[in-house]
Amino acid sequence: MMQALETVVARLQRQQGVVGAMLVGIDDGMVIAGDAGPGRDADTAAALAASLFRRTRMASSDAGLGDAKFVRLEADRGHMCATAHGDVVIVAVTASTINLGKLRLEMLSAAESL
């Protein structure tokens, strides 16, 4: 099981522009596998990313849009993308220059493979 999770993380980390990839528990916001990239605190990123994903999903549901599938946060120096499968949130921290369309497909595919 753990090896499968590590494989998903490694697959995302190989994408050009991805600086960190993590699997995070949606209920506890704790890191299951991976990291947020060099110089970033994985525990902090995981807790905040899981919280963001949960809240976005609630907002989406409350707005009558159904379940949120993919969340992208655009910041000054990059993006944070998240998707989920079951109890696991897949989080990618990326550079601004990344091909977001390709990353989105990779992350949704990774979620399916979990």
Binding site: V24, G25, D27, D28, G29, M30, D43, T44, A46, A47, L48, A50, S51, R54
Partner: protein
């Protein structure tokens, strides 16, 4: 704005910030011997008294267990439930050890509570000894009653 927070003056702002950021339902800061320093979300002195007594006992048990298992006491504890979780962590203020006990529901997560507990710990860790009035230790019951009186007023 957080209502229902009652604390020692040096603890008030850090505890309010912790509660607001981590979105916990209840939080209590106490000495390891059970003496309460501040609380948020509790409605009565009896609730606080119970929480303090249990937290002090859990802390003592956890520390001893840590010592026996690994030679070092545990510094934190988490009890996860389906709808609610409890977190307890050790910190220090003005050179004295304190415990923070927080209860949270699905509005928060263990990761968030740990994250903001670290900020809380750093915040009260910088409190100078001059800013804190520690009462000399007495027996457990007297300590507990005096701190409950300070937080909720004397029980008539």
């Amino acid at each position: 704005m957080i209502a229902g927070a009652v604390s020692a003056p040096w603890l008030d702002a850090p505890l309010r910030r912790f509660v607001q950021d981590s979105r916990v339902q209840r939080a209590i800061v106490l000495h390891p011997d059970g003496k309460v320093l501040g609380q948020f979300g509790f409605n009565s002195a009896a609730e606080v008294m119970t929480a303090c007594a249990l937290a002090a006992a859990i802390n003592a048990s956890g520390r001893e267990l840590g010592r026996q298992l690994g030679g070092r006491p545990f510094l934190g504890l988490h009890q996860g439930g389906r709808k609610q979780g409890v977190f307890m962590g050790a910190c220090s203020a003005a050179g004295r050890e304190c415990l923070l006990l927080a209860a949270f529901d699905r509005d928060s997560t263990l990761g968030l509570v740990r994250l903001y507990f670290a900020e809380f710990r750093d915040s009260i860790g910088g409190v100078e000894e001059q800013g804190v009035e520690w009462e000399p230790p007495r027996d457990l019951e007297t300590d507990l009653n005096s701190s409950l009186d300070a937080l909720f007023g004397p029980i008539n």
